[in-house]
């Protein structure tokens, strides 16, 4: 049955996460942006509360909730829907702080989906309350952004493991992460089939962070450049083990690990963009109600802009829920993931822009919306630009006609 009603458990999580975002995240959002970091004591505090950024839900291993009316009825997995609902609330508080929350982050999905049981245990069990820890995901290179197949970081097979050489850029939490999922090629001539994913642990000789970049927005969140110089990675850190790559025949499975991750993380990123747009919208609605005239030109301009913003936010949310729902019921969701990411990323920037327009010049001076505007632009870029999402969508639309675009 078609329904957009949250389950009782989803409602509960949404309310809980919103409370946290409102009372713990939002109050420090502007200060964290000014500092260019999330205060360590705050991270320690929330880690002790057991609050982590968990984007692993899309791996298929998420928790389940009973939805059957009768005992014994098969339960329906809802972890993916839960993840997008919760992430929207966190990003509503502040996206930069959300991305800085301890946890496996974007590194979680590839380990969940492709890691061996031993790797899952070793890498995903470290996120405990004793101290904050992070995971990271390193795919992008200076010469390989949207074209993931063009990565040049090499992995040379040696006795007992691989030696990595190369550079990665734009890596969220890359300097502080306890481990990073790194994509490299065993032979550039093999194209996608040569790709392998490794888990490189912090402190590994030859692995270093060379720079933290300064950005337009998301300033409180660490974005690192990583360097691999003759960095030896033991065999047991090859994600999925040799078996994963040998059993896939001619299929480019290392590349597939990366792509599968996108199918998983794009709805999460879309949900964050929606949370940002909603934050800007609600902030502006409050201001307009208090400050705007109750009739006349400005009143009708505001009515139109706010109605359009509300409509666009909800449309993007439903697209995101659809992608999450498809993942929950075990259907391929690559196209839906691409669509929701494309729509939400662009929509969120547009909504923030509309809100700044409604705030006028005062919006430049210490108002949350200008920060959100700076923050949100990258949601139209990372995890695949809107252009890449169009490409992914079009490929699937044309697939029935045998045309590869």
């Amino acid at each position: 049955m078609i329904s957009f009603e949250l389950s009782p458990q989803q409602k509960q999580i949404k309310e809980l996460v919103h409370w946290f975002a409102k009372h713990e995240i939002r109050p420090i959002a502007m200060e964290a942006d000014r500092l260019g970091k999330v205060p360590d004591e705050w991270l320690n505090k929330v880690n002790k509360m057991g609050i982590h950024l968990n984007t692993s839900s899309f791996s298929g291993g998420g928790r389940t909730a009973k939805t059957g009316e009768k005992n014994g009825k098969k339960s329906e997995k809802e972890a993916n829907r839960m993840a997008v609902i919760a992430t929207e609330e966190l990003a509503w508080g502040c996206p930069a702080i959300t991305l800085s929350l301890p946890g496996a982050g974007l590194g979680g999905p590839p380990i969940q989906s492709s890691g061996t049981p031993e790797q899952k245990e070793r890498f995903l069990s470290i996120f405990t309350k004793d101290e904050p820890r992070w995971g990271a995901y390193a795919l992008t290179e200076p010469e390989a952004g949207s074209d993931v197949s063009g990565i040049r970081t090499t992995a040379r097979k040696v006795d007992g493991g691989y030696v990595l050489n190369g550079q990665k850029i734009f890596i969220t939490n890359g300097a502080r992460a306890s481990w990073t999922v790194v994509f490299a090629t065993i032979d550039p001539n093999m194209g996608r089939a040569g790709h392998r994913a490794f888990v490189v642990e912090k402190g590994t000789p030859g692995f270093s962070c060379t720079r933290l970049v300064h950005k337009m927005g998301l300033r409180a969140n660490e974005t690192a450049e990583l360097l691999f110089e003759n960095c030896f990675v033991p065999q047991e850190n090859l994600l999925g083990g040799e078996e994963l790559y040998s059993t896939s025949g001619n299929k480019p499975s290392g590349f597939q690990v990366a792509m599968k991750t996108f199918d998983s993380t794009r709805p999460i990123v879309a949900a964050m963009a929606i949370g940002i747009a909603r934050a800007a919208y609600e902030y502006t609605v409050d201001l307009v109600r208090k400050e705007y005239p109750k009739q006349g030109r400005l009143y009708y301009e505001a009515a139109e802009l706010l109605a359009e913003a509300e409509q666009d936010i909800d449309a993007a949310r439903l697209l995101t829920w659809e992608a999450a729902w498809k993942a929950d019921i075990g259907q391929p969701n690559a196209m839906e993931a691409a669509i929701c990411k494309a729509v939400a990323g662009k929509m969120a920037l547009d909504v923030c822009s509309k809100c700044l327009e409604l705030l006028g010049p005062i919006g430049l001076d210490g108002h949350l919306v200008e920060k959100l505007y700076r923050d949100v632009k990258v949601f139209d870029i990372f995890e695949g630009t809107q252009q890449i999402q169009r490409l992914v969508t079009a490929r699937r639309l044309y697939a029935p006609y045998g045309v590869h675009v």
Binding site: E5, L6, R278, Y299, Y300, A303, E322, A324, T393, Y398
Partner: protein, 381 residues
């Protein structure tokens, strides 16, 4: 629980409607447009399949389906041709009044007339927007316990074949009223319609100086106001659903065409200017569809925010429809502009549909006013 799965029954209805649309409606589209009416054979088949009574109550022999089921079926039918769907004889938009007032004594003669399953056409005139009086010369003046209807309506569908007319209006005193006219005391002004929905029986109805007795009043005052508001909610959702069907038709046609058409030595789909446009058409189609589904559920539930959902669903459907049908013509290039291909008709039909069913910007402003005047407004559920 969030789900995008239709029920088995809805899926069966949808499949039936979609097959009928592809096999019977679409092939007849050009002929019906040229004849400016829907052929009797199509009307008969639609009646036999039950698609003409989706909104009518069971006590009237209708299917009385919830809106969430209706929107899926209407989407499937309109996938064939919106002009034909809008030209199907029967209660038309008035079905929603009947749905909400099935036992009203005034409507019983119409109920009797449709006993054989062949429903006469009813034209619906919405003259409730007092700010748009320039667009209509229709004057509803209180006259004792009745009214005098004088002047000419805006263009409405099913005008040319209407045997009954339902008028929802604000009278000269500013009071809402719903009138039922069945004595054909009107003249059909066929006008000069060329844009689109030409099989929909578009026309303006002229009322010379018609005295309407109290016995022809379905509702007045607060009762009429509430009835009209509830009907408008339903109509906005149902019309938006039809627009979603036309969007889907345009999208799929454009995909198939661009996958086969060659230029510069390859399928034009391989040019990103083309494939990206197709992707954007898909974005708009899906976004509009979801908002329509959400609004349908809200109206079915009689939720307090149903009106806002209906307003924005139609507003978004208008916006997306204009975009998608225009893109379809663009994707076919010169072929899109000529009548050998359906997309030029679909673009014309789309613009006519948008003109008939509420201005996009006006719908937005109405929703915006709700947002601005409410104490607490949150996008989240």
């Amino acid at each position: 629980m969030i789900s995008f799965h239709p029920t088995d029954e809805e899926q069966a209805f949808y499949d039936l409607a979609r097959n009928f649309a592809v096999e019977h409606i679409r092939p007849a589209a050009r002929e019906c447009e040229a004849n400016r009416s829907v052929s009797a054979s199509i009307i008969k088949m639609v009646g036999e399949l039950g698609f003409s009574t989706l909104e009518l109550p069971e006590s009237w022999g209708g299917l009385e389906l919830p809106l969430i089921s209706q929107v899926q079926i209407l989407q499937a039918l309109s996938y064939g041709d919106l002009g034909i769907v809008q030209g199907l004889s029967g209660p038309g938009d008035t079905a929603s009044f009947i749905r909400l007032q099935p036992d009203h004594p005034l409507l019983q003669s119409y109920k009797s007339s449709g006993r054989n399953g062949c429903w006469p056409s009813v034209a619906f005139i919405d003259a409730t927007d007092r700010n748009a009086t320039w667009a209509s010369e229709l004057d509803i003046r209180a006259n004792g316990s009745g009214y005098i209807v004088k002047g000419t309506s805006q263009p409405v569908r099913l005008a040319t074949s209407a045997e009954y007319v339902l008028i929802a209006a604000v009278d000269s005193k500013g009071e809402c009223v719903v009138l039922w006219l069945e004595n054909k005391h009107w003249e059909v002004l066929k006008g000069d319609f060329r844009l689109g929905l030409l099989a929909a029986g578009l026309g303006r109805l002229h009322f010379p100086d018609v005295h309407v007795g109290a016995e022809q009043v379905i509702a007045r005052g607060k009762e009429a106001s509430e009835l009209i508001a509830n009907v408008q909610q339903r109509l906005r959702v149902l019309e938006a659903a039809k627009e979603v069907g036309l969007m889907e038709a345009s999208l799929n046609y454009a995909i198939e065409y661009t996958a086969g058409r060659q230029a510069f030595g390859q399928e034009i789909a391989k040019f990103q200017g083309v494939s990206f446009t197709i992707a954007e058409m898909a974005f708009e189609f899906k976004a509009a569809k979801h908002l329509v589904w959400q609004a349908a559920i809200k109206v079915d539930e009689q939720a307090s925010d149903a009106e806002g959902h209906a307003l924005r669903a139609l507003s978004r459907a208008h916006r997306s429809l204009r975009h998608v049908t225009d893109c379809a013509v663009q994707m076919l290039g010169g072929h899109g502009y000529v009548q050998e291909y359906p997309v030029e008709k679909w673009m014309r039909d789309a613009q006519a549909q948008v003109a008939l069913y509420g201005r996009e910007r006006d719908l937005l402003v109405r929703r915006g006013e709700q947002i601005m005047n409410r104490q607490k407004e949150r996008v989240a559920q």
